[in-house]
């Protein structure tokens, strides 16, 4: 043995994963004698008891419409709803409470910015810049705006390892570039993009930027002021909260200047048939009765996340990533897709002679839930010359045992399909 090992015992993770697992009822279920190994967290995360209880409690004891009733329940519901706005502001480290707009999720947030901020500012010959690793939800809204305005969509290229080719970025930022929209963490490859640097480069040219934070917010502390971005979008259901609720952070000066996205109740100051004046942001962008229960649930998930030790959490997820990467690479004929230097606990892989859907079916028989497909990133698949991948994506409640179950099941794939 020529290697000198560090003698000081370093715990591989000081995150108390067994304790947090008890908070997630779905992780306690047993199906055909096996516990669930849930590794599709990039698609949606599981919900702790605290979130489930908050939604139930809201409907059982607090339900009323907000911002209008004079009675006690409505006033309390309004307070609870606006309290979550403050919690979201703190979670994203936004400077101002009015910079948080509740939306259905990241997809709606991007569409809102595309239609209300970007569309009025661009025309033929102008460009919107995205990257090759965007989720379809950060591609299609810009294609729609491009069709509506005659503007052009430009794309930052991606390397074979699944990193943005930042050398190619400066020439893409020109006088024609009117907006940049970039993913923080790639959902299909796990790549963590240097969004602070990209924001600085865009701002050097006076170009506003949106960061799609759907995959980042559940896994790393977010500070929108430090990033310096104009907009940041997140989805509650990927952050251990309910589906159908998310948040858009937008710089106050932008939100004030933007026209409404949807018209209706809640977003007005006064309405007559001669004309309507709008409420100030964020109400201007929250037409109609919002997802109050979802917002209450999001508040519970933010409260839950706030109490976790994020340094330990990040160390734990990095350990899962490294442990799983090493174990999977040991399986004959398996190749990991996406090898960025900075990578989240998302592992996409392909196996020689086996389609990812067959991998998914075989793993499912062992109660190991992964995603197989293009992960709503078809341009990534085309760029890498593959139709699909199998993807294991981790959250803080996953364990090394989960990785062992994954690898054991992946080895069975070889057993079915042969070496």
């Amino acid at each position: 043995m020529g290697m000198v090992h560090e003698l000081t015992a370093v715990p591989r993770s000081d995150f108390d994963v067994e304790r947090v697992r008890l908070d997630f009822p779905i992780l306690q279920q047993v199906h055909h004698g096996r516990s669930l190994v849930y590794l599709d967290n990039a698609a949606t995360s599981q919900k702790p008891r605290q979130v489930i209880d908050a939604v139930t409690r809201y409907y059982e004891t607090e339900n009323a419409n907000i911002h209008r009733g004079v009675y006690r329940l409505s006033a309390e519901a309004t307070l609870a709803y606006e309290h979550v706005r403050a919690a979201t502001q703190q979670f994203l480290r936004a400077a101002d409470l009015h910079e948080i707009v509740f939306v259905r999720g990241t997809t709606e947030a991007i569409n809102l910015v595309a239609q209300s901020f970007v569309r009025p500012r661009i025309g033929p010959g102008d460009e919107v810049l995205i990257s090759h690793m965007e989720h379809h939800s950060n591609i299609v809204p810009w294609q729609i705006v491009a069709e509506q305005t005659g503007a052009t969509l430009r794309v930052i290229p991606m390397t074979d390892d699944g990193e943005l080719d930042l050398d190619a970025l400066p020439p893409l930022l020109t006088d024609r570039t009117k907006f940049v929209s970039i993913v923080h963490i790639s959902n299909s490859l796990g790549t963590v993009n240097p969004v602070k640097d990209i924001t600085a480069m865009a701002h050097d040219r006076g170009i506003p930027i949106l960061i799609d934070g759907a995959q980042a917010a559940p896994h790393m502390p977010i500070d929108v002021c430090s990033i310096g971005c104009d907009f940041y979008a997140v989805s509650g259901h990927k952050m251990f909260g309910p589906t159908g609720i998310g948040a858009l952070y937008g710089l106050a000066e932008h939100l004030e200047a933007m026209p409404p996205y949807h018209g209706g109740g809640e977003m007005i100051r006064s309405v007559s048939f001669d004309g309507t004046t709008y409420a100030p942001p964020p109400a201007k962008f929250e037409a109609g009765t919002p997802n109050i229960a979802g917002t209450i649930g999001l508040g519970a998930s933010l409260d839950y996340l706030r109490k976790l030790d994020w340094t330990a959490l990040q160390r734990h997820e990095a350990d899962l990533r490294d442990y799983a990467t090493e174990a999977l690479l040991d399986v004959p004929g398996l190749r990991i897709v996406g090898n960025a230097a900075s990578k989240a606990a998302v592992i996409s892989f392909v196996m020689q002679g086996v389609h990812p859907h067959d991998i998914g079916t075989i793993l499912d028989q062992r109660e190991v839930a992964i995603r197989a497909g293009h992960h709503c990133t078809q341009p990534v698949m085309d760029r890498l010359g593959i139709p699909a991948t199998a993807r294991a994506s981790f959250a803080f409640y996953n364990t090394r045992d989960d990785v062992d179950r994954l690898v054991e099941a992946v080895r069975e794939v070889r057993g079915v399909f042969g070496p």
Binding site: H355, H357, T361, V416
Partner: protein, 156 residues
């Protein structure tokens, strides 16, 4: 391996996945259809030569999972030399089999080797994989030029 997996990945299916028959382009084809399941990424291009109501040759190209590739291979093998009416009857029999309850009997006299796909009935998410090539065949034999998808088709 569980029994359900053994039912799904029968040896004949694994064999046709590994060595698909009738793969490639067909010169002088006079019927053609495209099929795809966009959410899966499965793609299928089917070309046929039909003379006097008889399928004299057939080839497919495409990519997808073992079930979809083996299904295309066995489908093309089954319909080659058959009349259009016979092929359409097989299409109906196959579709009925894979969308029936898992306990329903399978008519092996009619379906022959195609009965191997009975295992997909225990995997509702995979029925569309088995069906894609057959629906593409049905489109090619009909008059429609519309691209085919089986993603909306469930197991019942």
């Amino acid at each position: 391996m569980t029994d359900r997996l053994r039912d799904l990945y029968q040896q004949i299916i694994l064999d046709h996945n590994r060595s698909p028959r009738n793969r490639g382009r067909l010169e002088h084809a006079n019927r053609h259809a495209e099929g795809s399941n966009p959410l899966c990424g499965d793609k299928m291009s089917l070309e046929l030569k039909v003379d006097d109501g008889i399928i004299t040759d057939v080839r497919f190209e495409g990519s997808g999972c073992a079930i979809s590739q083996a299904s295309a291979s066995l489908m093309t093998s089954a319909v080659k030399g058959k009349s259009v009416a016979e092929a359409e009857a097989l299409f109906r029999a196959f579709r009925s089999m894979v969308t029936a309850p898992a306990t329903a009997p399978i008519d092996k006299d009619v379906l022959g080797k195609l009965a191997a796909f009975g295992g997909v009935r225990q995997f509702p998410a995979r029925v569309k994989c088995a069906n894609l090539s057959w629906h593409t065949l049905h489109a090619a034999l009909g008059e429609t030029d519309d691209p085919v998808t089986t993603e909306q088709e469930g197991a019942g």
